[in-house]
Amino acid sequence: MSKEPSMGTPPPPQGLPPKGYTRARRATFFSLVGLGTFLGTWLLYIFLAEHGLRWCEIALLIVFIPLYYQLNNGFWTALIGVWLLNRPYPDPLDLWNTLSADDHKRPIDVSTAVIVPIYNEDVTRVYEGLRAIYLSLKETGQLESFDFFILSDSDDTNKWIEEEVAWLELCRQLEGFGKIFYRKRRKPINRKSGNVSDFCRRWGKRYRYTVVLDADSVMSGALITAMVRIMEKNAGIGILQTFPKQIGSETMLGRVMQFAQALYGPAFMAGLDYWQGGEANYWGHNAIIRLAPFIESCALPPLPGKEPFGGHILSHDFVEAALMRKAGYAVRLLRTSRGSYEEGPPTLVDMLKRDRRWCQGNMQHFWLLFAKGWHPMSRLNFFHGILSYASSVLWFLFLLLATFLAATPVEQADDKVALAEQLLLGLTITLIFLPKIVMLLDELFTGRLFKPLKLRMLTLMSCAGDTIIFTLMAPVLMIFHAQFVIYTILGKGVRWIAQRRKIDGGVDWRELFFTFGPIVLIGLIWTFIAFRVSAGFLLWISPILVSLILAMVIGAVVSSGRSGFRFGLFRIPEELEKPPEILQLESNLAEIKDRALTHPDLEKNFGLVQVFLDPYVNGLHVSLLRRRRNIHVSRDFLRELADRLIRQGPQALKKWELKSMIHDTDTVTDLHYRLWSAAEHDLAPFWSLAIKQYNLAKSSPFAHLLAQNEPLPLEALA
């Protein structure tokens, strides 16, 4: 490890690391990465070039270089991270050092908005998460400086009504009127980034900072207030990103991912912070943003061409980070071990759906790679984002070319070549597995996650388990990611869909069959080819082929609820000692889970039932709607829709037809009375049932979505 420049001064108050530090750190890091990449490439060259390079060997060498660069990048990030975690003196660039003990006690006198952009999410989860954050902030005594915004883009009418109902109930329970706000956009222009921009345009001037959350985010009040204080102390920071720890998973995949994140994440974060410095990335949530420069400089222009490669920027966060840096403000990572949480996808299929979106977003950054004015590190961040998916195509090509080379072998006489082959194999295995081993040893010796020896031993076993699972999943992910990249290039975009965050049933075998069937077929064909090529090659490539053939089984196993929890595997500290915010959240969610449902037909459209039948929900919805001008043009059309809704029920209307009705105040008010006035024979069976059942279904129109428990006592949370 290179020696730090002897500056001896604390980091400057503005939060941009001194150039001397960042230059020295980057020189060290990229020298090591470059050296490792060069060494690997050189060994491969010796191995391939004994009889001169054929076209396929040149191609293999070309695809090998970025793959090996990526491998080295991860390797050195992790190792430097472990070193930083264990160094005897504190990192001078650690932002926590900018706060003194007095700073933590000082009252916060700047206004901050906590915003939660949502799109057709599980309403109970979103609002209970917000409640946990609200109460946690209240505990800090600094609640007065914070306002909360639920920014909805939901286009599912039932979700929309549920969101309004839950907002009112949450405000009522927390006495949060005038503090917790709800905003629904009529048109979800530019998706999430547009949602946040809309907030900035309407209310951005009222606040100095905004804490951006995802629908599944939970953050502690202590961390949020600390982030505001760090931003106050470091006026040069535009975006401060925390490390959101994945929690709350119930499936094998989710628990393995959250375990891996808990064990390896801190070192990777420290390593990233080491070489990214003031040009870190923004991940779109669990971060705090300085609003003035964000409004001034971070509006996103559309990209050239149409979607999926052009058009609206999907992965807005990287671009916003680059724009913020371009405006002269630092984007920093804040090393956090607790207080910032999120949830992950429960199944492999859900993970792939998310990756498909991310892939398209990252591939779009191709346009920005060569744009003028970026900080070189921002450009590198774009490149790494693209490479994270493009590397799957490269890996796939590498394996295809390797198959070709194995099928057309050349005589190897030179011992030097065999040695190079062995060294390359050894080096590659080291690059892949050494960081894991080092991080595991770090845990075993320091007990950073767990103090009891038994738990450390279980961590050792879990680490072996996660290595097996990720090794088996990697080839499957490679094929899918390669497919996503090719689809994006061919112009097949993705739709904006709500993410599933919990499994709502057992393993869906049909979904698994249609998703992974083609992968199994690829695996079988490739195995046949490898078998025909040679037994040695079959053995060499067998880890890949076994994964592909077992894709369906892997998909089923990792997506199941058998997650090793019973045996103490894949444990994370938050499972053993739950943070107060998570305890609050889980206790409330458990209360809701046991609540009796209404008739299944009504449950599906309960939002609609409420907005049209319940006088209070109807009143709430109309109160929150903005009155439209010049509606007379569509009045007849809305009346025709209303007639159809009464006589045929909601299933007779399309999604957009329902939406256009509940956007209109007069139609919503009118329908309330028309439904109650309609004679029995004029009503669709759905409404007939709804009118009879509604008053029996719920005791209060607003209470069914949120927990009614009193907040947990302080002793329980401590």
Partner: protein, 192 residues
Amino acid sequence: MEAVNIQFAPGTGTEEEWNEAYARLADYFRSYRLHNRLRRTQLILETLRRAAEAHSKDASKTPTAHAIEQAKLKLHEWLGEIYSDLNLTDSQIAASGRLGFHLCDGPNRWPQFFLDRGNLPPDMTSAMRSAVRTSGPSMQVSKMTPRDIDLGRITEVAEGTFDTFERSPLFRYAALILFVSGVLSYFYWLLR
């Protein structure tokens, strides 16, 4: 509270129709979460009596429709009285008023005064008026205008290529077919 004449003998409409109207009104007032049964019954009978008068003048509507319309009128009159000086439109009064009654816990605190225009307790009126809510703070509009990003020469060339791909699906799929045939030919060559 208005005295209720329990005798109810509408001159028009069938018994079955008035029973249906009664049941619907009962459900409607229950949806206001009025747990005070006495007050609910009073309201139903009062409203039915007004509906019977209306039905005798206009029999083209069903008794149920008349009953709900009378309930709506009663509500508008009642809320109009409470929010008379708040400068709200009719639909705002209807929506905010209903919501206000719920938010101040009216169904539990003042069930006997619900829709009773002549008897408005000041604490109820004041609680309902203060419960008119907005969902967001007042706006302070900012301009957030995207600035063009100079994407550079390489991107221009790439943009041209992708434009060609986008404009011509044939060209796009020809490239894909070429790639797939190349791979298949390679396999064929391998296994020949």
